[in-house]
Amino acid sequence: MPKGLFVDTSICTGCKACQVACKEWNGLPYEPSHFRLDPVEKRPVAVNFTGNSYDNTKALSATDWRHVRFIERFDESRTLTRWYFSSDSCKHCGDAGCLNACPTGAIVRTDLGNVVVRQDVCIGCKYCIPSCPFGVIALSETTGTVHKCTLCDDRIHNGLGTACAKACPTGSIRFGEVAGLKEHANGRLARVKSLGYAEANIYGYAEAGGLNVFYLFLERPSVYGQPEKAEVPQRRLPVASAVAVAGALAVGAAALVSFRERTARNPEGGGGEETR
């Protein structure tokens, strides 16, 4: 029975407790300092701020397996209308681009449906990185291997929920069996729609073979930085291969017409026929 997360962005407060809990449980290194001592002025100066709302880590990375997005929505008159928060992570896709792309079998799916990188097997070829349609998996220069959220593989195989869900103070991140989470999500969707959010949607039922980590969004997925159409790259492999084969056949045909015709006029080969 696959386990996963339902992230109800409508009740997220952007507190980042999930980010902190993720770092603590998984022993991920702290972020570079936001202040440094200015050597001339002899006082601390602010560096390394994103300038994007309260976002401090910009994106998912090898050391940030969870990232709370801050989305400020302004209307025409530049009066703030909505401020959304969305806690993002690996979605543990049913049809995982990273897993499909891995040439070494380092990326595997466990019995609970979560997708995990085997750190002792990964060679750091980096092919999984552009193969993730969500921009999740990333290389660590320190280990030379790729890292991403494991869905707290160690915790969930020992009867615990994920660290992020445990730390979430509003119940926005909910851990459980995917089937049960979907039931809950459908109820929440009906509820927010009845409150007037006509564009509200569940993100992750159809995307990339069904996501084990899925979301309730109040607006289009692109507002939350997620692709509207999350396609798995490997589904394009048959056509891409067929066109490459066609290219090879065209070059082969060019060789055939070039080299064979010359042979027919070759005095050593077909010379006898030519003189006739």
Binding site: A59, N100, A101, C102, P103, T104, G105, A106, R118, V121, C122, I123, G124, C125, K126, Y127, I129, P130, S131, C132, P133, F134, G135, A138, L139, S140, G144, T145, V146, G225, Q226, P227, E231, P233, Q234, R236, L237, V239, A240, S241, A242, V243, A244, V245, G247, A248, A250, V251, G252, A254, A255, L256, S258, F259, R260, R262, T263, N266, E268, G269
Partner: protein
């Protein structure tokens, strides 16, 4: 398409150069082997040069591939399962299938190289002497040219089968483009090697030149089509350094100028042309790979 898809951070001097050198080696090999298979003994000299070029070049490629890895000493995981030690293949991953194709191509190009050395009398005392220059040579040529087409083309499929916007937008043409470029640069490598080899029996140049014109025409059409189908995602190839590399280097120097030379000045084959033009074609082929690999990684 999602611009937030991460970039792999492949270095141009490893990955794009591997794409290029692997393509030249594979292109030279399949030209030599197809000429011999289709045209017979008349092309023996051409295929000899091709095999002398292909094997040393393919030897350069594993270091390029391995040095770009985050954990280079684990490169063998590409072929053998890290836990069981049994051969490992992931048919959904062009990188996995490509690793095996590279191994097969390397083996075939080595055997053809060895066959050359023995049949030209440069290597004496080889076992099973009667098997050289005979039917096994044709088997290597047939298997090796199929593997060679794979090595030349899978690198383009590797790019297309990702989620990076430019590489998705150019799907599914890059594999075919790289094969055409491999043929063109392979022919250039053979021409260059012939120019340096002394006392080589005259190769039927007209046939080689005709093949070269056809594949360059195909390459030109594909190079333009790749940018046309990409639409707005082709922006990194339309301005800046990668536009210069692509249009100025790969297209103008690598395809258009050699084609113009071939049509305009074919009868007057100046000594400079026989060496300068192949060099331009090779530089263009390298810039084609660099432009497509690096422009796809512009954030």
């Amino acid at each position: 398409m999602n611009p937030e898809v991460h970039v792999p951070g492949w270095e141009w001097y490893y990955v794009a150069m591997y794409f290029f050198v692997g393509g030249v080696s594979a292109g030279a090999y399949f030209i030599g082997s197809l000429a011999e298979l289709f045209g017979g003994e008349r092309y023996r000299s051409l295929s000899r040069t091709a095999y002398y070029v292909a094997f040393p070049l393919i030897l350069l490629t594993p270091p390029l591939l391995i040095l770009d890895l985050g954990r280079p000493v684990r490169f063998w995981h590409l072929l053998l399962d890290a836990n069981s030690g049994l051969p490992y293949l992931n048919v959904q991953s062009p990188l996995s299938v490509g690793s095996w194709a590279l191994l097969l191509f390397g083996a075939m190009s080595f055997l053809s190289f060895l066959d050359n050395l023995v049949s030209e009398g440069r290597l004496k005392g080889a076992p099973w002497a009667h098997l050289y220059s005979g039917w096994p040579r044709k088997v290597y040529a047939a298997v090796g040219s199929v593997a060679g087409f794979f090595v030349a083309g899978y690198t383009g499929v590797v790019l297309n089968v990702t989620a990076r916007p430019l590489w998705v937008a150019t799907d599914p043409l890059v594999g075919a483009l790289f094969i055409a470029s491999a043929a063109s640069t392979g022919a250039a490598a053979i021409a260059l090697a012939d120019a340096w080899r002394r006392g080589v029996p005259e190769v039927p140049r007209a046939a080689v030149d005709r093949f070269d014109r056809i594949v360059k025409g195909l390459e030109l059409v594909l190079a333009i089509a790749v940018v046309a189908v990409a639409g707005k995602y082709a922006a990194p190839l339309l301005s800046g350094v990668y536009a210069l590399a692509y249009w100025g280097g790969a297209v103008a120097l690598g395809i258009v100028l050699p084609l113009a030379w071939a049509w305009g000045a074919a009868p007057v084959r100046a000594a400079a042309g026989t060496r300068l033009i192949p060099v331009l074609v090779l530089v263009g082929g390298a810039l084609l790979r660099i432009a497509l690999v690096q422009a796809g990684q512009v954030q």
